[in-house]
Subunit: 369 residues, 4 copies
């Protein structure tokens, strides 16, 4: 941790974004077929360490199936359009087609006109379960106490509690705030929780009993937390910091390994590779999956920050569609810019640098430039 | 204070702009409703620590009322169009509509054709007083001796002496220069004075008896001091330096707390947040308020640097209008880029990082990237 | 080697690209005619230390003659179109004219429709030999065992084994991987091998008996390894590192001098100069030679990364044509932007800084900015 | 002098450009009228420390008079169009109007079709002398021995020997190279010589007996030395280094003060201010003077690097015209971007920071960002 002096007695630490770092090949190379990208969390096993973010432009009940077929965990946002509208297809199309100037207002309207519907949520989970995939859903920290029990009892297998910033100690204005630790203890499905961006915040989240913590504030391409709140922690640094917290907690807990999941700011396969190199166990991706011709966003992308009623901190973005979700995840790629064959790129990066599994790959030598 | 060697025996200190710094959430979060942004200076209390800059594109007798209604101190420039013309509406419209090539010449002409009118100034102050708001007006250091007594006797409650650079020791060509210390001592209303950008310059201004000092050279988006004069002090560093001077002066003076007021370069709510994180007690904002549909600039923005007769150091800028001044200050926002709901964003930033008041928030951990 | 901390326990080393470095004139200058750019590798002597990269947009049997006439070694890619099609002229034209969106797919199709043809390869080498030039051909590491013996027995004089990353220890999925050391030992022509980018990887390649190692991952303007794989080593640092490995190996081997050949990222003559200043013995150039009105790419440029069937890591680029290959290499230049008279620029740079040969020039003082 | 490691055993020093540095106001300010910008070199006195660069787009026999009237030394290039053509007006117009693609070729042709004419040179100097200004002319180091005696005997008062890089020890291919030291000793007018960019090179030039040395490689906006030759020394660092050499030489010579003259890269008045802040005694400016409606370039700008027959290292640039040369030098400015009232801006910068003469101003505190 390098401290720099901003001025007077105010110091700050130096952070690095994905753009500023890279990996370097070493003396050994390997066939890509000799590489394993397997990932397990709790009792669940996946062929790839990627997670589709709970964003309406990425995960619908339909795209969840496509994505899961590619070995990738898909998370449906219970507070999104699919938890509010019986058939939101028409609204998705409206969002995709509205002019940039009107987009934020439209989002604000669509997400407030219709409240989250408990029965609908149960149906969605049943629908996902029937499709045979690992069922994972997301809720915001504000509504966790209300919605998580419904999700768990309806058959959700992995719960994601996801907000811009989630802490283990929330001070609420009125009533009792959510006690994450006892809540997670009582819930009988594994919980992934975040975002956070510092070792200290992550350590506290790990102590709540979470199976995984999300690092980052979700959505490098779709959110504007930096412009609106002044909050920014460069991802390479954030991941490396939280990976250190994982090690500290491993010791403190006598062996509980909490997964560090990079969330956001990964705009191409190179960024995903760098996330693992910095110490991530898995990567939650959004914008790269919104580029699918069969993605729900229809060529646009937005996160939950963008539909906040009074202080939106994100925007709907136009995304160039590049191919099917299958192609984006497992190729073949017909572009050369890191937007397709994400899993193939990760395998190739590991092979090129001589690593055979992800845990080893976290130790790769890096370059700052 | 980190010194770097430019070359030979010439060294320089490293400075950081708002773009290069950010704040990082910690282990605790808080409801935004649990946060206080109250600000007091002298006997005056405000719901928010923002000040509308004395610029004709931002503060008119009318917009001052709207702005004040939002808990924000509005400062009218006595040397602006409202101190020269009975009804400058037509000229404001002319400035808003002139082509970019002609804008500087038009400003030079409008601000020199008609001199500042003492009677008009008195009327303006009376007009502001009658509207029931806290009356604050600004003068340049060159005309302080002439105009400030008129302002004070007409009922102005807070005087702002504002120039690109204001020092406690001005060397004048002829006659006696303004002795700030005795001047402020004799004036019976609180004085805010600046800009300055270094601890040493600020300390001397604090010793004059000022209630607050302006940090920065006013107008990140509208002035060109760097291109014209080679003068630039990155704001994050300047604020942190002057905040240190505040502490030194607090000790030296046996307890007088002089407010550090960031002035300029804050183009979105994230920048405002960073100003407080670096140590500011309040923030004087211009360009963000010129984006109002009811702002006097009618979609354009300029500062007093831009109308200098022989050496303008600024330009008239086109600004995208985003909503009413009410919305810009207190929301709801319909944009996600930090241009609306400035107060809400500040509250949310404090809440997200777990702070409940501004004085504590000045201690937040920062990141440089 | 300067280490920086990315976060937690993860550190990285600082790297510099050509853009960040420059050379500085010293107290002595020299006439450009007093400068020697001679370069010898193995028994082959060249008037200039440049090598035309084995890319179909740069080296054809025809352009190889033009390039060689300018004192520059030209390398034909045996796995390119000239090793697959009897007359690829029509396909080169197709590639030059296809829209950007279709370019990657077209490349993928053209390079997979027709396999590499052993007889054709022999004919190409015979053709080159008859034209009287030094015959050099390139193969990928994957097909070296298959194609290199054919090349050698057909009369190739210098073999280039070139991949994005080539290591001395490749771990293959099935069968025995290529043992570079024994392979090179048995081949009776000198071998240049790469790319690599670190001292350690280079040292291992030097130990295989190679006459030269390629530094870099080939093609700054045409490849996207960074976006796709997250792999990037800034060239100035990579060359300086490998130049140190050359010295280490010189000692370890009791005097074998392995040539360090910068490969890629040199977009103008200034970059070429910097490569030598960092320690290169020769420079393999691609994009700058694709600007010739008589270059095979017809105003476009691509590398072998761009035609990969499932994970392309490059694109076809439009290049502004500036003059003939003769003019590009030895002038006269009719542009002032470093795209023409590359050899003249190298001579002038050496003269301006007072050096008379390339080995001395490697010691020149540099500036980082 | 801060050393950084590029890689292996190759280190470099850190340099700073004007863009990266700025000046900071201090605790004292001053009226601009209280400031002196007087400059003396040898027996010549000037109201301002600026020198118009010997470039055909800036200095003609006519514009020299206008420029001199503003207190600025104007230098005519004897090897330019005015030394070749009786009336080059038509060619100047041709250069101003030719398309960008044809510009370099046209320059190459115009400057080689007609040789430098000794009689014409004498007439030009007589013409300048008759206009009553201080007569200064420039020659290249290559032709100094041939042209300088003619200039001196015709009445030139200050000789400028200017090349991209000029050293005190030039190694020539044939014949005896110019011995600067004995040449300057024998010439009975003061000589300014350069460019150079390091303390060591400058020290050797100072020892030749020159009255001033040019720092930089001339023409930030018009030359491309970095792209073509890889040569670049950031100006702030170069000036500060050479200013240190001035001090060393002052001691070594027992008191001879050689003027350090910043040459090039000053695109606005802020850059000029920074040159003095870094230690310059005077500034040779080109591009800013080519913006005059009465400048010879007619809205375009080029340096002698751009007309080199085989390796041009510069281009003809389009420049926005902003006002008359009088306005550009002494105002009033009708732009706010540092392109007009250069002298006023320098005075204001000194006044704002509390300095009254240029020698003191060289000690001002600087900021790097």
């Amino acid at each position: 941790m390098v401290e720099v002096v901003i001025g007077g007695t105010k110091s700050a630490r130096q952070g690095y974004s994905f753009d500023q770092v890279a990996i370097a090949p070493q003396r050994r190379t390997r066939d890509a077929s000799e590489v394993s990208t397997n990932w397990n969390i709790d009792a669940y096993k996946f062929a790839t360490p990627l997670i589709a973010a709970p964003m309406d432009s990425v995960v619908s009940p339909q795209s969840a199936v496509t994505i899961s077929r590619n070995g990738v965990l898909a998370v449906l946002n219970l507070e999104g359009l699919w938890g509010r509208y019986e058939d939101p297809t028409i609204y998705l199309r409206e969002i995709a087609n509205v002019s940039q100037d009107q987009a934020t207002s439209l989002l604000q309207r669509l997400y407030s006109d219709k409240p989250v519907d408990h029965e609908l949520i149960k149906n969605r989970i049943t629908q996902l379960k029937e499709s045979g995939i690992t069922v994972s859903v997301a809720v915001s920290p504000q509504r966790t106490a209300e919605l998580a029990p419904i999700a768990a009892s309806s058959g959700a297998e992995i719960l994601v509690i996801r907000g811009t910033t989630v802490s283990a100690e929330h001070v609420a204005a009125s009533g009792e705030p959510l006690n994450l630790k006892s809540f997670i203890h009582e819930l009988d499905i594994p919980v992934i929780v975040g975002g956070c961006a510092t070792a200290q915040a992550a350590l506290h989240l790990m102590r709540t009993g979470a199976a995984g913590v999300l690092v980052g504030f979700g959505g490098g391409s779709s959110h504007t937390t930096s412009e609106v709140l002044g909050v920014r922690v460069p991802m390479a640094t954030a991941i490396a910091d939280v990976a250190s917290a994982r090690r500290d907690y491993l010791d403190e807990s006598g062996g509980r390994y909490v997964h560090v999941i990079a969330d956001g700011s990964m705009g191409n396969s190179g960024d995903i590779v760098k996330a693992f190199a910095c110490g991530a166990d898995a990567a939650m991706i959004g914008s790269v999956l919104s580029r699918g011709t069969d993605s729900p966003g229809g060529g646009t992308h937005w996160g939950s920050e963008a539909w906040h009623a009074t202080l939106p901190r994100g925007e709907r973005h136009q995304m160039k569609q590049v191919g099917t979700l299958d192609q984006i995840l497992n190729g073949p790629a017909t572009t050369g810019d890191g937007t397709m064959n994400l899993v193939g790129a990760l395998r190739k990066a590991m092979a090129t640098t001589g690593y055979s599994d992800l845990k080893e790959f976290q130790r790769i030598e890096m370059i700052v430039s």
